[in-house]
């Protein structure tokens, strides 16, 4: 699958981080991600409670669009991770998605550990970037 987009967004739903591969059609991905946030919110609100279980964190396929799927994941601090993958990529299984989200979450927590990082800032962590890139390379 050629296109993958990721975005981590906070409660206010502004993206903390967004990365897509390839870079073309980025805007489309951005848009998709943004719109999928609504779905995420929907699911979160549906839960109604604090989600501790990772299963709950992983929202699964938010909704399939014509040619891509959107997966969601939300942390306990309401930081949402949205992953858009090309539908053509059938190799991606749910477990893989989960593992990717897990990695994202871990990287995000590492970022949070950095005292120089202010929650809510854009994420500029190189480690995070590296991780995301590697992940996307895997998928692509």
């Amino acid at each position: 699958m050629a296109d993958t987009g990721r975005a981590g967004q906070t409660l206010e739903n502004y993206p903390l981080y967004i990365r897509s591969v390839p870079t073309e059609n980025e805007l489309k991905f951005h848009y998709t991600v943004h719109t999928s946030l609504d779905v995420v919110d929907e699911k979160i609100s549906a839960m109604g409670k604090a989600l501790v279980d990772q299963r709950e964190l992983y929202l699964g396929l938010l909704y399939p669009t014509e040619d891509y799927k959107v997966y969601g994941y939300v942390t306990n601090s309401k930081v949402k991770f949205v992953m858009v993958v090309d539908s053509s990529n059938t190799a991606l299984r749910d477990n893989e998605i989960r593992s990717m989200f897990r990695k994202l979450h871990n990287s995000y927590t590492d970022i949070m550990c950095n005292p120089f990082y202010n929650p809510g800032d854009r994420i500029h962590s190189r480690a995070f970037d590296n991780m995301v890139n590697s992940m996307m390379m895997q998928v692509c």
């Binding site: 927590t109 950095n114 005292p115």
Partner: protein, 746 residues
């Protein structure tokens, strides 16, 4: 030149820094460096007095550095020749600085011509670079801007040091640089800085004053780190550690993220970069920095300040636990320091104070760290567990036969085993031979050990230990031999062939028993010694000797104790000295067995009770017990006897035999020496004869017996004491053995 510089710049308290710098210089062995060192020194020292000013300057310099980094490296790199150039540049700056400083120092508010900030920054970078170059030999990063104050000294130094490019640089930015800084100095630190630089300066100055030292250090560090990128020098390391301590006194603790953030924010690096540094250095991603992580972070900050780009991932040298206290080349370090200190422009004011201290401390620290390292190494390598084996032989110089007698108290099982073997061997060998043959040495030792062992139930170790402890050379041998013998009695497999040599030795040791007898008669001194030696051995011997024949058998039965006793006496008799005893033996054996036992028992008992010579007594007791067990504890406590000293086994036995009757009643004399015993023994032979004679003879014999009794009593006390000692040793050996046990399993 150096000295001149140093001297020139010496403001009085240079001494130390100067020294360090001098050292560095020497190490650096660069002509240019000396100057720098000078400047460093001066810088260091200067900052102290001029802290106020320097602070600003430092900060300003820092900012200048930052700003100028981009500019300067390129521009100056070309211009500045390698290290020497740096020096020169520095000098220029130094001169400027000096000038500036003077002005600034003089007034500290003098408004030097405001040089375009651009100039100053370049100068600082220059100086910085120069400094860097020196330390790192390749740092073209911004040289640390020496604090303004530094300049003054530099200027002084400069005259001393004649670097070619002085004029070039002097005319250069240094003045402007200085001016800038001076101007900073003039204006309130913060304001000046602000004026010169954007808010960052402000923050820096304020923060920096506190952290300037840090930064300066960092800068210095950076420069020096350039020598080997990412390698932390000892000095740096020390500095980092010290800084760590300021935040977290416990070197094994963590620095929380917030504190670290605050700390590193002082470095005035952009948050983004700091964030990246954090990412790199927080190895375990726990939001806190350990000492290693902190050093790595600090190092990265320093590097970054020096213009190094942050790596994408943590360099190996900075990995936690991979950071070695390397001894960066002196040159590097020194240059680094020199650079720091000497770069007038660079070292932030606060830095200067800290730098001097740092520079000064670094060498010390380095040394100390090195020392620490060595300590750790030493400590780690110190092991020394008891040296059993090694000690064995040497322990008994006399013992030609060196059974692997472990040193005393060496809980080496091995030794014990050896001894056991020996014993067994000896036992084997000896059993056949007349007991007396046992080397006198052995007797005592063996007795002791054996006795101890017997008490322990044949714990070889114990016996060994005891014997070891006993270990007088001859005695040891004797003891070992005896042990062996005993072992033989106990463990038929004993390998060690009874060392015949021991016998001869034992003639010594047993000489303690036998010889003592003789010696007693001959040389009182020896006797005493012998007595002492014997006492331990005595118990076993006497017993065995007493029942030589029967005892011999008994040992077999009794496992050792008895064997000892049996053997020992046997040994004793074997010795030439036994000649005397032979009579006794014959005498004693006859019917004395029981007496012996009793005597022994009583002796032991008495010994225990009366005498300090616990060991002896214990031995005796043990022996007595052994014997009693074997024989039939009937005789145990013959009351009168207890006091008779445990004279050399044969002796006592003999004596006992003879004098039992006599001594018993008389027992209770502990102080009698073996000499007396010997005398008594000597006389004893005659006793029987006398006994058979008329009254005079009887009286004489009585007298003799009494004497013997006293001697024996003394012996007893001595033996008791020896026994105590042996027991103690045994205990210690046991403890050691236990301690070693786990190891044996490993």
């Amino acid at each position: 030149a150096r000295r001149e510089l140093c001297g020139a710049t010496r403001l009085g308290y240079f001494g130390r820094s100067q020294f360090y710098i001098a050292l560095k210089l020497v190490a650096v062995a660069q002509s240019g460096l000396p100057l720098r060192v000078e400047s460093l020194n001066t810088v260091k020292d200067l900052p102290l007095p001029r802290f106020v000013v320097s602070k600003n300057e430092q900060e300003s310099r820092h900012t200048a550095l930052y700003s100028s980094d981009a500019d300067n490296p390129a521009s100056y790199s070309g211009v500045i020749p390698p290290p020497p150039g740096r020096i020169q540049v520095k000098k220029g700056s130094v001169s400027h600085d000096a000038v500036q400083q003077r002005t600034s120092t003089d007034q500290q508010e003098s408004t030097s011509p405001v040089v375009s900030p651009q100039q100053s920054p370049p100068t600082s970078p220059h100086t910085w670079r120069k400094h860097n170059r020196h330390p790192s030999g390749g740092n073209n990063e911004r040289p640390l801007a020496g604090p303004g104050p530094f300049w003054a000294p530099f200027s002084e130094a400069q005259p001393g040091s004649s670097t070619s490019s002085d004029p070039i640089w002097s005319g250069h930015s240094p003045p402007p640089h200085q001016e800038n800084w001076v101007s900073f100095a003039d204006t309130p630190p913060t304001s000046a800085l602000l004026a010169m630089h954007p808010a960052s300066v402000q923050d820096q100055t304020t923060v920096r004053t506190v952290a300037s030292a840090t930064t300066t250090n960092e800068i210095r560090r950076q420069s020096s780190s350039y020598d080997d990128p990412w390698k932390i020098t000892d000095e740096q390391r020390q500095y980092y550690v010290n800084q760590f301590k300021t935040i977290q006194p416990d070197l094994n603790g963590f620095i929380p993220g917030s504190a670290a953030k605050e700390f590193f924010t002082k470095s005035k690096l952009p948050i983004l970069e700091l964030s990246h540094i954090w990412e790199l250095s927080d190895f375990d991603k726990d939001g806190a920095l350990t000492l290693d992580e902190f050093c790595a972070a600090f190092h990265l900050v320093v590097a970054r300040k020096n213009g190094y780009d942050l790596p994408e991932k943590l360099p190996e040298s900075l990995m936690p636990k991979l950071i070695d206290l390397e001894d960066s080349t002196e040159v590097g370090e020194q240059t680094g320091e020199v650079g720091y200190s000497s770069s007038p422009a660079e070292a932030p004011p606060s830095k200067s104070p800290s730098m001097p201290s740092l520079n000064q401390t670094w060498p010390e620290l380095n040394q100390s760290s090195e020392q620490w390292e060595t300590f750790s190494e030493r400590s780690s390598s110190s092991q020394t567990l008891t040296q059993f084996d090694s000690n064995i032989a040497p322990a008994d110089p006399d013992t030609a036969i060196v059974h692997p007698v472990p040193i005393r108290m060496t809980p080496s099982k091995i030794h014990m085993q050896e001894m056991e073997l020996k014993r067994t061997g000896s036992d084997h060998a000896n059993p056949t031979s007349p007991l007396l043959v046992k080397p006198p040495d052995l007797p005592e030792e063996n007795k002791m050990s054996s006795s101890v062992k017997f008490t322990a139930g044949n714990t070889v170790t114990d016996g060994y230990s005891s014997s070891d402890s006993y270990a007088s050379d001859p005695e040891q041998i004797g003891s070992t031999v005896t042990r062996q013998r005993s072992h033989s009695g106990t463990s038929p497999d004993n390998t060690a062939p009874p060392p015949p040599p021991p016998r001869p030795h034992p003639s010594h040791s047993r000489s303690s028993s036998l010889d003592m007898n003789r010696s007693f008669s001959v040389t009182p001194g020896q006797q005493q010694a012998g007595v002492v030696a014997y006492p331990p051995a005595v118990p076993p011997r006497p017993q065995p000797s007493q029942g030589a024949g029967p005892h011999v058998h008994r040992p077999v039965d009794a496992e050792g104790l008895i064997a000892h006793t049996s053997t020992s006496p046997q040994q004793i008799p074997e010795q030439p000295n036994f000649a005397d005893f032979s009579q006794f033996e014959a005498f004693a054996v006859s019917g004395v067995n029981k007496e012996e036992e009793d005597e022994i028992e009583t002796h032991s008992e008495v010994l225990q009770v009366e005498k300090p010579s616990d060991s002896a007594s214990s031995l005796r007791v043990a022996k007595a017990d052994g014997r009693v067990e074997d024989k039939a504890p009937a005789n145990v406590p013959t009351s009168g006897k207890g006091t008779t000293p445990l004279a050399p086994p044969p002796k006592p036995i003999r004596r006992r035999l003879k004098s039992e009757d006599e001594l018993r009643p008389e027992a209770e004399e502990h102080t009698q020496k073996t000499g007396v015993i010997a005398a008594v023994l000597a006389s004893q032979p005659s006793i029987p004869r006398s006994v058979g004679k008329d009254k005079k003879a009887i009286q004489a014999s009585i007298r003799r017996n009494k004497e013997t009794n006293t001697v024996l009593a003394r012996l007893n006390s001595e033996l008791q004491q020896q026994l105590k000692d042996v027991l103690e040793e045994r205990i210690s050996l046991e403890v050691q053995l236990e301690q070693l046990r786990p190891f044996s399993h490993l």
